[in-house]
Subunit: 217 residues, 2 copies
DNA sequence: TCAGCGCATATTGGCGACAATATATTCAGC
DNA sequence: GCTGAATATATTGTCGCCAATATGCGCTGA
């Protein structure tokens, strides 16, 4: 393999999947071996990941996977609250009947996952719902920022999905969002989405030591 | 000179100052001569600028300065409206008396510039006001996104500052923002900031061919 | 005269080697 | 035994070369 963008994606995925502990040094030679690529490819990938906020680079000291604090996670989620609210409002204005059927389909999947307690499957379906709302909204600028912010919080989001009782509340909130979009009620969709993301902020605020518990999975 | 970050900043500035026409090819060799640097430095700078949304890179076809459409400018400003509203609200909660004195100082500068019709000086002071609000808000995530979005619209923002009559309206809006921050009224500060940015969106919507007129300066 | 094809050239992509620098280790002195 | 500096090593920064590829031009044929 000698494709630079392949290394970029592989390294990004590895960081997002939590295969590197926060703060760990990313030594170029090691990454070359890991991804069977040349040093040139990883050197092209690292600045891009730095601009995405996934790694921190210091001159002559290399790159480290960026550790984000609870305060920073709250900041990120505050911004997401506004932007995902915007996409929900636009989705309510633009959704076609086919779009609404797709949203309902995901709600069904969420219900099944919540009912059988499949946490990972639930959080994947929730991510699909948000992604679909973004696609319906067709707001490229907001979507790309949201995706970048979600990536930065990937591990923390996974952690929150393990907090018991969140699924039930989250499911009701997701249903409220889809209801508002179906009713073509943009302000209601925006409010529902903001409430949904706000509950993430509250979770972050309440148990600030949850990130320590997240070391288990 | 052989400093890579210097080339990055110089190239970014050159693009922001409008020294390249939109869509122009950025040939690596030309940039080397222009900035008296090695090809290595420009090759390191280009991916970073691409991730900042200032240039577009295509495989084996090089980089071009990214042309943003009116629709995209509106999208960017819609996001800025939300995020700058957030910073205004936080600034209202956190501003010290010294901060408020600094804000008042900039308002004075804005009045002078508007009174003597110094358009460039006015828009510079306006940018300083927004930057100060961001600093007071101390919301790193929102601030970095806003700065990136403002950079993408740098030329368009300059263009709007030339529309006659905008200064008077803009000045009143800026004063309303500072008044609300001084009164520690976060919701009012957020509303005032949103109105301020909303007027930019309206300007973009109303004369969509203003970017053609901007070829003059 | 125009269309299609092949070639030449300009430009970017990729790589190995070398230089510069930060960090760790070790040794000497107190 | 501890502290400080000097050296050694590991890692990143920089460069020039060659290969791969897109684009533009000229040529040939209908």
């Amino acid at each position: 393999m000698a494709d630079d963008s392949a290394v970029l994606d592989a390294l990004r995925d590895a960081i997002l999947r939590g295969e590197f502990v926060a703060g760990q040094r990313l030594v170029e030679i090691d990454l070359c071996e890991r991804f069977c690529s040349s040093r040139f490819a990883v050197r092209a990938a690292i600045p891009v990941l730095a601009s995405e906020g996934l790694v921190d680079v210091q001159r002559h000291r290399g790159a480290r996977v960026r550790a984000i604090s609870i305060e920073e996670a709250i900041e990120i989620t505050e911004v997401r609250q506004l932007l995902e609210g915007l996409t929900a409002a636009r989705a309510a204005e633009r959704a076609t009947p086919a779009d609404i059927a797709d949203l309902r389909e995901i709600i069904t999947q969420l219900r099944h996952a919540a009912g059988s307690g499949e946490l990972v499957r639930y959080s994947e379906a929730d991510a699909r719902l948000h992604a679909l709302v973004r696609r319906i909204a067709a707001h490229e600028t907001a979507a790309s920022i949201i995706e970048r912010l979600r990536a930065q919080m990937a591990r923390q989001a996974f952690m929150l999905s393990l907090v018991p009782g969140r699924q039930a509340m989250s499911l009701a909130q997701d249903e409220a969002i889809v209801d508002a979009i179906e009713a073509r009620d943009a302000p209601a969709a925006e409010r529902a989405m903001r409430r949904h993301v706000a509950s993430v902020i509250e979770s972050l605020r309440s148990d600030s030591q949850a990130d320590l518990a997240a070391a288990v999975p």
